[in-house]
């Protein structure tokens, strides 16, 4: 590692070298990085830290070559990459957001995607995928769908996908920002392993304390995007301690000889009034399984899985309660129940009665502050109504208090992470409430914003309000909480003071709250699978193996569309019935669905067939001598009924052919087939697949946004005009951000140049061959349909 301020020229063997490098994003005046002199050589491992928004990720993306190739920015100065880093896949990049760096549906396909880009031979792929999974410490089947992995497993999968391509340089861009402490320590253990094995690494990390012992070199970047200092980690930390503290990179109260125990005793517990609890939960259970499905499960002798079971809790004035536990343990569910956002499946939640001077007695803060915003202007958001240029005094004061001066006319969505969080807390505290519930309020914030928010919440607590929050950050618990509730798999395993929890290592380990020495064990929690969205992504094994399931997906689609086109010419009921029978028979004989399954899948559409029949019965054009009947104001005719029935049967054929296609075709295979067999540029086919894959996230987002709206009081519900936009905005901004990140992640894995342009320039993990049977099927359908039209009159 040789970073030079002014002195020596860079060593010739350095892999990346930047000189006087500045980077400016389009539309921004100030550069994100200024005058960077930096070089990285083989075998070095570097940790980069700095306040949030200082340009750490920009530096990583320039070094990876993603700027300016995938992300536009203006670069001045020089950046030089050694030839060894210029091949596709030579730089592996693990991104911050585990949701936004995958573009395929299963673990195996995901890792293979990179291998396909670098032209790896298909026969070698399986072995390389296995090796990469082993090295990344992820013991999981290659067929596993990647949406079902936990956050920690997703980050390991991202690492495995990079490792498979045998990268020279690996970059970790805040890989643990979304992970619980246990998963974080797993990722850190992986990083340590990689450093030991002599890999070249660049790591950006917010919660970096655990890495200081591991990573030999440190780079500090300041608020302006300049390198402040570099060198061996220990020296830099010692020399720059005061700066690190001043920038809020190290939380107050930590000293170089940091002892967590001291945090607990520093804090004094305020006054608690246990005699009159604000919120009460008695024997509360909650399941996301719908009532209908629950009944069916019961009949089969199974019980639905509970997100929470038999939990009792009382929250009193003057308490600051932290709810902790591993990802998926029910923390957010408990918080939503306490807020009255969802109703318990069993048990009782007692909320405080409506107070005369309060809109709602309980305020709720979402993990993603954007969910809270319903206006397009910061000032309106703070006022909770449209205000014009003359901003009311109380809003002015809030702007000052929350350091949002000058942002009054901005869109809340355009603020920085920290500003958004401050705004959402400002909205919560604007009106008086009895209890304040917050879902991960410090998520993604730097130490400075975190301290700011926690100070506000502590003040509320001291005023005799109740504050309940969920968090992954145990330091926050030790420092601020008066009480901790530990959840594991929907059950409460601890409820007491932080002091008591601190000595219960058994509970801490059980709840993944502690960095354990044996942190490499595999984590087999699989998160809840969304319902609707995966209906079209997964195909039953039985249908996949049926004769129609084995046909080429692209040609099968063409056959299906041809069949529809021919059905258009049906003019008689008999023709319609006969055409409708073809796909129904095929569903049974060709796709191996049972008659009962077929009836079940067709039944929702019966109403529609009736509707078509009716519309044409009432509105068909009739000749002068055709008998018609008046019913109310409708003029019904037998000719019309006939027309309507023909259309209804054509629709039946359309729907049945559709079900036949969907229940036998895997969407990934369709996409691969479009490229392999029909030469669609991979950029379009794989890009589309990546976009479709993002969809399941929307279900969750949509639910949260609806809840957030319900909490803002009735005056908001009345202003209908803004409604569509306020619903659409958080969804759209999220969709676009994720889409962009996915695209960058794909390009970071070598999806550029001819591998993305031409179908022939990449290899394929699995083939979608075209066989003679595809044409037999096509000919069979076409000939049969035409024959029916010609013969049946």
């Amino acid at each position: 590692m040789s970073v030079t301020e002014t002195t020596q020229p860079a060593l010739p063997e350095s892999w990346v070298e930047a000189r006087h490098l500045s980077v400016t994003y389009p539309g921004q005046d100030a550069p994100a990085l200024r005058n960077i002199d930096f070089s990285l050589s083989e075998g070095e491992a570097v940790l980069v830290i700095g306040p949030s928004g200082c340009g750490k990720s920009t530096l990583a993306m320039v070094l990876a070559g993603l700027i300016p190739q995938s992300v536009e920015a203006t670069i001045t100065g020089q950046i030089r990459h050694a030839p060894i880093l210029q091949q596709p896949g030579a730089v592996g990049y693990v991104f911050q957001d585990p949701e936004a760096q995958f573009c395929q549906l299963t673990v195996g396909q995901e890792i293979a995607f990179g291998l396909e880009n670098i032209g790896c031979r298909p026969s070698e792929m399986s072995a390389r995928i296995r090796d990469a999974l082993d090295t990344a410490g992820l013991a999981i089947d290659t067929e596993a769908p990647n949406y079902a992995l936990s956050g920690g497993m997703k980050q390991k999968l991202a690492l495995a996908a990079d490792l498979a391509m045998d990268p020279q340089l690996l970059i970790f861009d805040e890989p643990t920002a979304n992970l619980d402490p246990e998963a974080t320590s797993q990722v850190f253990a992986e990083i340590e392993q990689l450093i030991r094995s002599g890999r070249t690494l660049l790591i950006i990390e917010h919660k970096f304390e655990a890495l200081l012992d591991v990573v030999p070199y440190l780079v500090l970047i300041d608020r302006l995007g300049q390198i402040r200092s570099t060198g061996p980690t220990k020296d830099v930390v010692r020399d720059e301690w005061d700066w690190l503290m001043a920038e809020g990179l190290i939380p107050e109260g930590l000293s170089p000889e940091f002892d967590r125990k001291s945090l607990i005793h520093q804090r004094e517990v305020g006054e608690i009034h246990p005699e009159q609890p604000i919120l009460q939960a008695r024997n509360v259970s909650y399941t996301y399984v719908s009532k209908r499905l629950g009944k069916r499960l019961k009949k089969q002798g199974r019980s639905p899985s509970y997100a929470l079971r038999e939990l009792s809790l009382e929250i009193c004035p003057g308490e600051l309660v932290a709810i902790v536990g591993p990802n998926g343990s029910g923390k957010s569910t408990l918080l939503s129940l306490l807020a009255g956002l969802i109703q318990p499946t069993q048990g009782v939640i007692t909320l405080p009665p409506v107070q005369p001077d309060m809109v709602v007695p309980v305020a709720f803060g979402f993990q993603n502050p954007e969910h809270q915003f319903i206006f397009e202007r910061v000032a309106d958001e703070l006022a909770n109504r449209f205000v014009d240029q003359d901003i009311p005094d109380d809003v002015q004061q809030l702007l000052r208090e929350f350091e949002l001066q000058g942002q009054a006319d901005q869109s809340p969505f355009a603020l920085s992470q920290g500003q958004k969080r401050r705004l959402s807390v400002a909205v919560m505290v604007r009106d008086p409430h009895l209890a304040y519930l917050l879902d991960e309020p410090t998520f993604g914030q730097d130490a400075r914003t975190e301290q700011y928010i926690m100070a506000r919440l502590t003040a509320l607590k001291d005023q005799g309000k109740a504050v309940v929050l969920t968090t992954h950050d145990m330091d926050l618990v030790w420092r601020y909480a008066t009480r901790v509730v530990v959840l594991v798999a929907g059950g409460m395993i601890f409820d007491g003071s932080p002091q008591d929890l601190f000595y219960r290592t058994d509970i801490m380990i059980q709840a993944h709250l502690m960095v354990t020495s044996d942190s490499n064990h595999s984590d087999d929690r699989v998160s809840q699978t969304p319902t609707l969205s995966h209906r079209f992504i997964e195909v039953d094994r039985r249908q996949a193996q049926s004769p129609i399931g084995r046909l080429n997906p692209g040609w099968k689609l063409i056959t299906t569309i041809l069949a529809m086109g021919i059905a258009m010419f049906a003019r008689h009921i008999a023709q319609g019935i006969a055409l409708g029978l073809i796909p129904l028979m095929l569903l049974w004989a060709g796709a191996w669905l049972t008659p009962w399954q077929i009836i079940k899948r067709m039944s929702p559409f019966v109403v529609f067939f009736a509707l078509y029949t009716w519309t044409l019965t009432a509105y068909s054009r009739v000749g002068p001598h055709t008998p018609t009947f008046w019913f109310l104001w409708y003029r019904l005719s037998w000719v019309g009924l006939d027309n309507g029935l023909v259309l209804a049967f054509r629709m039946l054929a359309s729907v049945a052919f559709g079900i036949l296609y969907v229940s036998t075709t895997d969407v990934t295979q369709l996409v691969v087939s479009l490229t392999q067999n029909f030469r669609v540029p991979p950029r379009f086919s794989y890009g589309t697949l990546a976009g479709i894959r993002v969809f399941p996230l929307f279900e969750e987002e949509w639910r949260k946004i609806r809840q957030a709206r319900a909490l803002r009081g009735k005056d908001i519900r009345r202003s209908r005009v803004t409604r569509i936009v306020t619903y659409a905005l958080p969804l759209m901004t999220q969709a676009i951000r994720i889409g962009e990140r996915v695209a960058v992640a794909m390009e970071s894995r070598g999806f550029t140049g001819s591998a993305a342009e031409r179908a022939g320039s990449r290899t394929y993990y699995f083939d979608t061959p075209v066989s003679v049977w595809d044409f037999v099927y096509l000919a069979f359908i076409v000939v049969l349909s035409v024959a029916i039209l010609l013969w049946i009159r």
Binding site: L611, T615, G658, G691, T733, A735, I736
Partner: protein, 189 residues
Amino acid sequence: MQWKLRDIVVTAVLATACGAIYLGWDLLYKFVPSSINPVVAAGFNGLWWIAAGIVPYIIRRPGAAVLAESIGGFVEFALGSPYGIQAFTIGIAQGLGVELGFMVGGYKKYNLAWMLFATGLGGIGNYIYSYFYYGVDKYTMLTQIGYLVVTMLSGAILSGLLSKWVGDAVKRTGVLRNFAISRSVGKAS
């Protein structure tokens, strides 16, 4: 005018979301007086090609309307639309109609008037498809004309106006900085 990977992925994300909206619209349509009068029902049609409005408005590339509407239609079909695979094929027809509008503008015009015009043309795609497939050819001439006019108006409002409204709001949030919508200050929107 080159498609970047980012444009394609975002097209697919937005179109997929639209596909889910279409499915909801399919089901809503069932409870609406579509059986009272086809001309009244035609007023609902426009929303079914909002993907062909919102995506080209943001991405501004040749083929954006057809690509987005095909993906949206395919997702609607695959999620279990009561129209079966017709949801996909009519999507292509609607997308082609809108595409024609933007093509006439040389893929440079995306102001309000042009958005209304192009998405209105989507109604013609819808009409032609429905003429051959959904029995519109069987209606009386007056009903057919009413159906076409209302469908086009519906497209201009539910697809065109709504797309521009939402698109502009999203642009103000700053997340579209890297997309064509943000590069054409002054001449387009």
